[in-house]
């Protein structure tokens, strides 16, 4: 993760946001926020796309 944070603890906030939004697959929120190759904007974009697509990692096809 590229450290482009503006206040201490923002990483936790971001991860909480991702986990909360990806309630079907919360572990993905943790994965995205701990990824070394993604910026904050990327994580937001991915989280939003995953949420909007209704992706459920544990659901059937």
């Amino acid at each position: 993760m590229v450290p482009d944070y503006t206040y201490p603890g923002q990483w936790f906030d971001d991860m909480g946001m991702s986990v909360f939004n990806l309630d079907q697959s919360p572990i993905l929120g943790v994965d995205l926020n701990t990824s070394p190759g993604l910026k904050r904007d990327d994580v937001f974009s991915l989280t939003r796309s995953l949420k909007d697509s209704g992706f459920d990692a544990y659901g059937g096809e």
């Binding site: 697959s25 572990i27 993905l28 943790v30 994965d31 990824s35 190759g37 993604l38 990327d42 974009s45 991915l46 796309s49 995953l50 909007d52 697509s53 209704g54 992706f55 990692a57 544990y58």
Partner: protein, 145 residues
């Protein structure tokens, strides 16, 4: 809310116009208040004022010019005889619901947007201890044609 001392219009048959009443007077006005109050009442537009839109007589036939000519009677033949009644519906002859342009699979579109992050996602899925969910995400996104 009504102005004190002014007649009030009642309900139903007791209703009466209240815009044609004489100017009211303040009973306990201070110096200059009576004049200001009178001026306020005179400034208010009345229904008979020519400035009011409702004041001038309106010719409805002019307003809806030729409206009757555009009305299709119930028993009249169709204006689109070659278009089936199911045109635009999900069943039957004619164009399907896709013709409306609102049947785009938005979920698919979002998954395709995720596709642009595939290199990073693949890297994450290939790490030891990668979550099952991440590996499943990569598998599903890869499956999109």
């Amino acid at each position: 809310m009504s102005t004190p001392g002014m007649p009030v219009s009642g309900p139903g048959k007791f209703s009466q116009r209240t815009d044609k009443q004489p100017l009211a007077q303040l009973s306990n006005a201070d110096y200059g208040e009576q004049k200001a109050y009178k001026q306020l009442q005179q400034d208010a537009p009345m229904a008979s004022s020519p400035d009011m839109p409702g004041g001038a007589p309106m010719d409805l036939s002019q307003l809806f010019q030729g409206a009757a000519a555009n009305v299709v009677p119930l028993g009249a033949p169709s204006n689109q005889p070659n278009t089936p009644v199911t045109d635009g519906a999900a069943a039957g002859p004619g164009a399907g619901i896709n013709a409306l342009g609102i049947n785009k699979d938005l979920r698919q579109e979002d998954l395709e947007r995720i596709k642009s992050y595939m290199p990073v996602l693949e890297y994450m899925a290939n790490q030891t201890g990668a979550s099952w969910a991440m590996r499943n995400l990569v598998r599903k996104v890869k499956g999109i044609v």
